[in-house]
């Protein structure tokens, strides 16, 4: 007699206790919060070291204590890094490569995806889809050597060559995302535009492209993160060191100036900052974009 009562009370209490995690207005799990805060420290610590080292003086930066706060506070590292890495040129190159890759990827991929989805019954278009998709399985290192040679031969061993190659490596994934999204747009929507006399070109730009905006954001975020942060491709393709992007310029502190820690970290910080600032402003987009991209792709 006693057993069922105990069981039912127990189940009521547990039933109350467990969904507590998920529904609103319930007890906050402080133990989980504290564990996560400690984990967040491991994320922030390298960033803290970067920032504090960047603001130290030459002498303080070599005292062996990376975790101390800068005393005195100095922007000397930034001043030196600015001229040593030719920051303005590097920044312009990174910006050029990133903007070029983002724009080219969105336009080429949405163009191709639109043509493919609207002509899916044609063998040529279907075949093109699988052809473009196949590149998902071709990593850059596999074709890097001939690409280095060919870009050199046709005069594309510069940021423009990087834009083309980076766009092509982003293409498969982006076409996949755009086609998946386009297939969910009802054709009736487009037909009404055509009845109003719009051509295919006009329909694409006035109706389809605006509808694609959320996917373009996802595709753009992936292209941005890849193009802004990549080291391998620009380091191999761009032959003139003066035209290098920011990540590649940082190897200066591995070869020469390797003990000017404050200068090196100031330079790292300047190279990281634009992406971090962009992320802080577009946090929600980045999070939902990455999730969407991975789940749909």
């Amino acid at each position: 007699m006693a057993t069922p009562t105990v069981l039912s009370t127990q189940s009521i209490t547990t039933a109350n206790a467990t969904p507590k995690q998920r529904t609103r207005g319930e007890r906050v799990s402080w133990s989980t919060t504290i564990i996560l805060l400690l984990c967040a420290v491991t994320v922030l610590l390298p960033l803290y070291v970067t920032i504090s080292m960047a603001f130290k003086t030459d002498t303080q930066s070599v005292d062996g204590n990376a975790f101390s706060l800068p005393a005195p506070f100095s922007i000397d590292g930034f001043v030196q890094a600015w001229t040593l890495t030719k920051f303005p040129v590097g920044f312009a190159m990174s910006l050029l490569v990133t903007a070029g890759t983002v724009v080219a990827t969105i336009i080429l991929a949405s163009f191709a995806a639109y043509a493919i989805v609207r002509n899916w019954d044609r063998r040529l278009f279907r075949f093109s889809f699988f052809y473009l998709l196949a590149a998902m399985f071709i990593p850059f290192p596999v074709v890097a050597l001939p690409q280095i040679q060919l870009t050199g031969r046709v005069g594309l061993d510069n940021p423009f060559g990087v834009i083309i190659l980076a766009t092509m490596f982003q293409l498969s994934f982006s076409v996949l995302l755009f086609t998946a999204f386009l297939r969910s747009i009802p054709i009736e929507l487009e037909e009404s535009a055509r009845i109003d006399g719009a051509s295919t070109w006009q329909t694409f730009w006035r109706l389809i492209f605006p509808l694609l905006a959320p996917m373009s954001a996802t595709v753009g975020i992936f292209a941005f993160l890849y193009a802004w942060n990549d080291f391998m491709m620009p380091s191999l393709i761009i032959s003139d060191a003066g035209l290098q992007t920011l990540p590649v310029r940082q190897n200066l502190f591995q070869t020469q100036f390797s003990s000017n820690y404050n200068v090196a970290f100031a330079s790292y910080l300047m190279a990281m900052a634009p992406a971090i600032i962009a992320y802080l402003f577009a946090q929600r987009w980045v999070m939902s974009g990455v999730t969407q991209g991975a789940v749909k792709g």
Partner: protein
């Protein structure tokens, strides 16, 4: 799931249009991507495979030498070690990243304080350049960790792990994990949020405790997401380059040289055709993994 929808919706225009000719503008939409793609990826791929059967050094004359490069590659300890290192490193990293990211995602979807702030912080590493963060960690591993080790009197930490050929790989795993946990984490959060709350209610009515719920309910329900993360991660880690260059530059010696680095370094010292054979072998392995990936994805759609 997407495959089914594509066939269904793709079927619609078929009925209407198959009698009409394709509007020329669609070729204009399609061809720039296809032509550039062919020139930038397919052509170099074919050229590369062609030269892997020659003795070219990248410039000047060359001759066909058949499979010589491939036979040499199979018995080249430098290449074999780099393949072994890359696979071992990828396997360890993929396991570490997924376990940590999954647990973090469980925590971040629980009822906690500062939820959005914490999520925001955990995603930051994703937007930072791999090579730059590798330089930062290199400084920490070479200077700060040994300093802390001697201050605390832990002899194990007093010498940098990066200068130990047996342990340097661990540093690469740590930095790669640090950088790639965010992406994995976001996918797990999406997966966990898609699990309806009432299954937990039902489970707890049946007397399942928290750990049982996690292993018996949550994990099977997000298995599809585990598959995506493992596949995407493994593919990325096999191509590891930036972080290794920044952290150990392949060293000490060649103990942490990945396949990508072996190909590039070999080329820089004049082994064009030979390293193209390595690249081709690497490509074949990637294709095999892709096939496994395809069958696994089919499994995911069934879930």
């Amino acid at each position: 799931m997407s495959a089914t929808t594509s066939i269904v919706t793709g079927g619609n225009p078929k009925v209407r249009r198959s009698t009409k000719r394709v509007e020329p503008i669609y070729y204009f939409f399609l061809f720039p991507a296809v032509i550039l793609f062919t020139l930038a990826i397919t052509l170099p791929g074919v050229v590369g495979i062609f030269f892997s059967f020659t003795d070219s050094i990248g410039i000047g004359d060359w001759e066909f030498i058949g499979f010589t490069n491939y036979i040499a590659a199979f018995s080249d300890p430098a290449i074999l070690t780099s393949f072994l290192f890359t696979f071992g490193f990828s396997l360890v990293t993929v396991i570490a990243v997924n376990v940590i990211a999954f647990l973090l995602a469980v925590g971040l979807t629980a009822k906690i304080r500062f939820k959005m702030g914490l999520r925001g912080i955990f995603v930051i590493p994703m937007v930072i350049s791999g090579i730059i963060i590798a330089y930062v960690f290199q400084f920490l591993f070479m200077n700060s960790v040994p300093a802390a080790g001697s201050a605390l009197g832990i002899p194990f930490l007093e010498t940098s792990i990066l200068s130990n050929p047996d342990l340097a790989w661990l540093g690469i795993v740590i930095v790669t994990a640090w950088q790639s946990i965010p992406g994995t984490l976001l996918i797990y959060i999406a997966g966990l949020l898609a699990v309806p709350g009432d299954v937990y209610e039902a489970a707890s009515l049946d007397g399942a405790n928290k750990r049982q719920q996690l292993l018996r309910i949550t994990l099977p329900l997000v298995m599809g997401y585990v598959v995506i993360n493992v596949i995407l991660g493994f593919k990325n880690y096999l191509n590891a380059y930036d972080i290794i260059v920044g952290l150990t530059n392949g060293g000490p010696g060649t103990s942490t040289r990945s396949i990508s680095m072996t190909i590039i370094r070999g080329f820089q010292t004049g082994d064009y055709a030979y390293q193209m054979a390595t690249a081709t072998l690497f490509f074949i392995i990637t294709i095999i993994i892709a096939l496994v990936q395809l069958s696994a994805t089919r499994g995911r759609n069934a879930l």
